[in-house]
Amino acid sequence: MRAVPATGHGGGRASLEPDIAVLDQDPPAGGTDVLRINDLRVEFRFPRYSVEVLAGIDLSVGSGEIVGIVGESGSGKSVTALSIVGLLQRPGFVTGGRIDFAGTDLLEVGADEMRAIRGNRISMIFQNPRASLNPVFSVGKVLREVLRVHSGLRGGAATARAVELLADVGLFDPNAVLRRYPHQLSGGMAQRVMIALALASSPQLLLADEPTTALDVTIQYQIIQLLSRLRQERNLAQIVITHNLGVIAELCDRVAVMYAGTILEEAPVERIFDAPRHPYTQGLLAARARTELTGRLESIPGQVPDMRNRPPGCPFSPRCPHAGDVCRTANPAMEAVEPRHRVACHRWTELA
């Protein structure tokens, strides 16, 4: 198998030609992809050094599909999502790749065009719903602003649509909720309001960055059900970022496992749980099983590598119990295990 050099630390624009790695990919399901990310690279630039936090991500989302991105903190999950909607802040810079959305490369569109897409055709919700709502504005005020900006609705029409949206995300007495301020909402209600805001102009894609992490367990389940219902009713494609495998199991069709700015494994959700191929995925699942068994929080031994000194070869090799010489020198390429199951590991065939 072909080995791709670890990272383009030649600095500057790491925009590699869409190389053979892309051709290695499985053909996406029938060209109905809502979003297709190719070789996305992001760098954090500090005065004295820079760090590659996304080292070439390939990911696609089909129409009505829910894709989960799972990984530890700092693995690049949120950076991926923020890059899609063009909200990556300094010191983050996209240095290469393509993000295709409905025929346009989102990395090439201007700020105004991106703003027209954001919150309109691609929406995003965040981890801390109460802090994500402006404390000095009532729910109705923000909803009406969003409806005016994206749908041109004003006055009674906007209010009627706002009530409809709030009812649609399962809020009882939407008229009362319209007048409420964020501090008068529970976390679950606030996340429903955020989802209503995100749905205001019927987007094709919803990015949910840890949508349930800050919520109580029972509320988590309700929000998961809501997201699942939105997919069924509106065919809403979603990328759900989480470090919670339970959320993945409950909600997602397909999962990408991220580690140190790369995707190590990608497969339909049953495959990830039943037949994980990457030692990291196996470690995550084992740690979860041990946690359930002992009641103590377990983890994979070792630490996420310091991104400044990215190890050569496979990023997981320093922690991998199966790492061999080749793992420490060459970066593994994505290989197809099955048509929709890909893994980036030198030794997956031996370990299977």
Partner: protein, 335 residues
Amino acid sequence: MIAFITRRLLLLVPVLLGVTVVTFTLTRIIPGNPIDLMVSPLASAETRERIAENAGLNDPLWVQYFRYIGGVTRGDFGDSFVTDQPVLADLTSRFMPTFELTLFAMLLAVILAVPLGIASAVWRGTWIDHVSRLLAVFGVAMPVFWVSLVAIYVFFFLLNWLPAPQGRIGVIITPPATITGLYTVDALLTGDWKALRSSVQSIVLPASVLAFAAMAPLARMTRASMIEALDADYTRAARALGLSERSVVFRHALRNAILPVITMIAIVYGYLLGGVVLVENVFAWPGLGRYVYNAIASSDYPALQGFILYSTTAYVLLFLLVDILYVILDPRVRI
């Protein structure tokens, strides 16, 4: 709301009582004997004794205190030793000049400092941020009386753009008919262009000097709270909803960031009332600052006590106003 305001106004009573105790004691402790002021240096010991007796200065302190409080409750703050006028009348006649000066100073400071603070938060680390920081350092570091003198030297002596320190209006100009008590506003309302020109020329320098000092903390506070608001989750969420950058900065972020700035404006206004003592003296401004300066210099107990009560009341009312504004602007403090 009414109940809230009433409660706060009732709270004014114990605050003012406390202030009277402190000021009454302090004015008696600091050195200086008011008798020296009231009588000729050549007066006999008997005369001095008689005058002290008449003024009640020989009574025990607590008797003096209760006599004073009794008067205050009837609106009698005593008579000034220096002007021989009732203190309340003195203060009232000097209030408007000071109010006019500080009002214009504050308006100028807010109009300049808030946009500057916003700009240095939005473009942090750029030249505009550095210029704003430099201005703030100068505003804080340079003594206001010195800035006053430099300003007079430059704008009157060197450039001759503005008149010499002449108080509120040129000496040969008749003040406008009183409507509000603010010369500039009254001149405008009565269409008295000569008075308007002269009063504006007179107020420009002292108001600018005060504004320069007041700008520094306002600009820094605006910058700090604006940066916090721009980095907040709700700002990121507003951007994610595709709202325009103008709406994100001026509606979503600023609406939150302005709250601490309002408190700062009130604090700075209080600080300005201190700075005004020096500025009024340099610019011959016939306001409270000069009055209290003279009262201190001459151990004028009733005038001093009256002024402190007066300014305490003004300060408490100012903060009541801030709290009412908070209730209007911040839904979280609504009762």
